[in-house]
Amino acid sequence: MNVQDQYIINLIQKAHRIDGRGLEDFRKVTLEKNPIGQAEGSALVQIGNTKVVVGVKMGVGTPFPDTPKEGILICNAELSPLASPNFELGPPGEESIELARIIDRGIRESKAIDVEKLCITEGEKVWMVFVDIYPINHQGNLIDASGLAAASALANAKMPKLEGDKLIYDEKKTPLPLKELPIPVTFAQIKDHLVVDPSLEEERAMNGRITVSTKENGNVCAIQKGGDAMTMANIEKALDMSVKKGKDLRKLV
């Protein structure tokens, strides 16, 4: 364990954090809606120095055989070496796959997208929704930045017009059929303490991590725990706080 990790752990015992935040404080969160004109919907989220851009693109494809009446959602995250000296080139690794799947589950399980409205011809043609997550600068808590950006990008997305087999991207009018805005909130367990929105330094010193995605009515729609064992008390705290923090973040969308 390096000196900084030890320092963070020592601080946390006195309920202090390395950047002076309270245990339940997010860093400054900003959201820019639709910065990318070519995307159907997009958002740029900054949490402290963490920067993530998410773009939504739509296309037409064949439905899965077991869901012939439903549109398709595909979430993909690309941890480009542009965003951090620790990211490497090559096929998606564990970390980017986990990130994409956490965001995917939040959207899917909350039934955020009304997939039945994305059916064009049953069993033959449906809309495909691509959510592409691109971190630009990684300074911790990519999950929350990505989740918030994805929610905003979907909420502000306009579908291209479909004429026969052709997609007309110049005429985007109809909003995406959206029913929910799932928002993930991530906590780090450092020693036995729980902090919200871990920075990169805290992620290095943490021994566990938990992400809880919640819906507008306060229901939980996805959980992902990582790392070491966690006490029930901390899990309960994370569940309670995620609803409150989720509500605040949802206002930005």
């Binding site: 990318i36 004109g37 070519q38 995307a39 159907e40 997009s42 120095n49 920067k51 851009v53 773009g55 939504v56 693109k57 296309g59 993909n76 690309e78 480009s80 070496p81 542009l82 965003a83 951090s84 000296p85 080139l89 096929p91 691509f130 592409d132 691109y134 630009i136 600068n137 990684h138 300074q139 997609l167 991207y169």
Partner: protein, 232 residues
Amino acid sequence: MSTKREDGRGPEDIRPIKMEVGVIKNADGSAMVSLGKTVAIAAVYGPRELHPKHLQVSNRARLKCIYSMAPFSTTERVRPGPSRRSSEISKVTRESLEPALFLENFPKTTIDVFILIVQANAGTRTAGINAASLALADAGIEMRDLVTSVAAGKIDGTYTIDLAGKEEEATDCDLPIAYMPRIDKITLLQMDGDMPVKDVKGTIELAKKGCKILYEEQKKALLKKWAKEGLE
């Protein structure tokens, strides 16, 4: 030379230019360049240790450039990951930047340049080169000159710079160059089209002229960040 273009520009006008350095805090140097609706960001990491070791070059640094497009940057989604097109652009980008650097000063290391096209509307390779060159300068890596880049063509008999939108189909040729204005050397030159030699020469001259305009903008962007810190 008076024909109006679809976006109202004159034939020698470049689209609205925006440049900013230091947009990616993690990187040693970074920049964003937008030309109209084309937006490129670039990050430079290095000079840093090169692994695996057998890739190291004993008497100079390796320059690595990776050009990629975000899937949401175009009208139809681009599949993420490398393609034949992006590999070629990565190569010519590297070759357009190498002549500006003193790679021999950093033996055995690597200088990594990552270019991401966030929004594409023609001229992405040239926007990428402009951003990469700025990012290298922002990283404090010594350079012979800034590399600046733009494409030109000839539409209805008129030399036209910084082609955008439908102009790419209307032009007799698409000719991107990268250029070091101070030492007057060209580092990238590609062309596809059908044109006599005289016209090719004319197109290159116009592109050089455009590069000089971008050069001034690049210097302004660097000064905006660095002059504040007393390094003017």
